[in-house]
């Protein structure tokens, strides 16, 4: 078995270790289970291409390697949805999970004043983390209205553990304003963000800050699945009860099949692992638990639906495509993402539309899909000189 991870360490974003610290306690038993002679890791690496059937081209640093596979499990996770607003490209405006990850990887937030905005359960978790690491969290602005979050909480009445977690997070945020139906109108500053103008209904006010953490829930990373030709439905990889995609032998687990959080991702991953190794009966034993967790996924999706008024903050000058610096006024006249791409290069830069794709989908209903190899920028050297994964630098702990 070969495990390929984009990050230098295993554990994904949730279990990402603190710089210089021990692995996250919850991750340790899982890492231990992988400590076997038939498991190899390539960390700091990612799939660039699918040059032939049952073959992946994996890039790491300046080298690349082709690997053949029999069964493939896609656990490509999710990224934050970024929506444009005036000033959203200013340095120190970043994602909510992004700021937490940067803090975990050694950036001290101590004494910094931070506005947390956007949407989703991550806002609460990140705000608590930042506060407990010495940041002055000025405010948490959740775009969803209060009634939607109440409905989510009521739905958790039978899920006492999750309800307890949510209430615990709220308690640890005591004293910090938590505003519903509230979002960033614009960010301002010289060379970096210094102030944020917030909107709630017809009210607007300004908060001073050193950092603005702003992300609107999550979007799935489906680029590799698209490249492989897996069927995608409503933005997610479509899978059968064994987590198998429309391509036999290619499975998917976690956020790429639906934004459902860590526990669901783990169950789905386990089902995919068992099913791909001819242990379908054991996999079936996990179906009931998955069903229970899938209900929460549906509730999450309803709770954090984007308010259409978030579109109103975009002005003609607002940058929508950050790689190619394409402003909203250059895009508004186009009827489709494809047309806009050809005329303005929107979505053709290094991120390949991973940031502006979900934004233009929300703003104008454009289809964000259209993956081409290499699915992440590759060097000529990587595409011409092949090495072996055994020779790739890896770090694990």
């Amino acid at each position: 078995m070969l495990l390929i991870d984009r990050r230098p360490y295993l554990g994904g974003n949730v279990w990402y270790p603190e710089a210089g610290g021990a692995p996250v306690a919850e991750a340790i038993p899982n890492l231990r289970r992988l400590d076997r002679p038939n498991v190899r890791f390539v960390t700091g690496a990612e799939v660039l291409d699918h040059p032939r059937p049952s073959t992946l081209l994996i890039g790491s640093g300046e080298v690349a390697s082709e690997t053949r596979y029999g069964q493939l499990i896609l656990a490509t996770g999710a990224r934050e949805r970024f929506l444009p607003f005036p000033g959203s490209t200013l340095p120190n405006v970043m994602g909510v999970g992004a700021l937490q990850l940067l803090a975990k990887s050694g950036f001290s937030v101590k004494g910094r004043s931070i506005v947390v905005a956007g949407s989703g359960p991550l806002l609460l978790a990140a705000a608590v983390y930042l506060r407990e690491h010495g940041a002055e969290v000025r405010l948490v602005a959740e775009q969803a209205p209060r009634w939607r979050l109440w409905r989510l909480a009521v739905g958790l009445i039978n899920d006492r553990e999750r309800l307890r977690q949510a209430l615990d997070l709220r308690r640890r945020l005591r004293g910090i304003p938590y505003r519903y139906g509230c979002w960033v109108g614009r960010a301002e500053g010289e060379g970096k963000v210094e102030r944020v103008v917030l909107r709630k209904g017809r009210t607007e006010w300004t908060e001073r800050c050193d950092l603005l953490a702003c992300g609107f829930h999550l979007v799935p990373n489906t680029e590799l699945a698209e490249l492989l030709g897996c069927r995608i439905e409503a933005g997610f990889i479509s899978v059968n009860e064994f987590q198998e995609s429309s391509i036999p032998g290619t499975y998917a687990a976690g956020e790429p099949v639906g934004i459902g959080g860590l526990e669901l991702a783990r169950i789905e991953g386990e089902i995919a692992g068992l099913a791909s190794t001819e242990q379908r009966e054991r996999a079936q034993g996990l179906f009931a638990e998955r069903r229970r967790l899938t209900r929460f996924r549906a509730a999450l999706q309803r709770a954090f639906v984007l308010d259409p008024r978030l579109r109103d903050v975009v002005t003609p000058e607002t940058l929508v495509c950050r790689c190619e610096d394409v402003r909203a006024e250059m895009l508004m006249s186009f009827g489709s993402g494809r047309e806009a791409r050809l005329q303005t290069r929107c979505g053709m830069g290094r991120c390949q539309g991973r940031v502006c794709g979900p934004a233009t989908e929300f703003l104008w209903g454009w289809n964000p899909r259209g993956t081409r190899p290499p699915i992440v920028p590759a060097t000529v050297g990587q595409l011409t000189v092949a090495t072996r994964t055994e020779n790739m630098p890896t770090i694990t702990r």
């Binding site: 984009r6 990050r7 230098p8 974003n13 270790p17 603190e18 710089a19 210089g20 610290g21 700091g44 990612e46 300046e62 990224r79 934050e80 970024f82 490209t89 200013l90 340095p91 120190n92 405006v93 970043m94 994602g95 999970g97 992004a98 700021l99 937490q100 990850l101 940067l102 803090a103 990887s105 050694g106 950036f107 001290s108 060379g191 970096k192 990373n221 950050r322 790689c323 190619e324 610096d325 830069g349 290094r350 991120c351 991973r354 940031v355 920028p377 770090i395």
Partner: protein, 86 residues
């Protein structure tokens, strides 16, 4: 056990960071907010923190376009900001 601190330079200025620090975190900690120059010249810094947005690009040991959020600091590393699109 590895060393207590890793020494790197950021735009020629020596800094030392705990092992396990990412280049993006080290750069922000050094007070640098402008990582790369956008195609129309504006300043940009980290956005996604997980390797998908390509906003935190820097030059590391002469290699351009490196995602600083995905790279861990290593002894003697030379980091240059103001990475420009090629």
């Amino acid at each position: 056990m590895g060393p207590d601190r890793i020494r790197i330079t950021i735009d020629g200025t020596p800094v030392n960071v705990p092992p396990g620090t990412s280049v993006a975190a080290a750069t922000l900690s050094a007070g640098v907010t402008r990582f790369r120059d956008a195609v129309t010249g504006g300043p940009r810094g980290p956005l996604c923190g997980m390797g998908i947005c390509f906003e935190c690009l820097v030059t590391v040991n002469g290699r351009r376009g490196v995602r600083s959020c995905l790279l861990e600091c290593a002894e003697g590393m030379e980091v240059q900001t103001h990475d420009r699109p090629s």
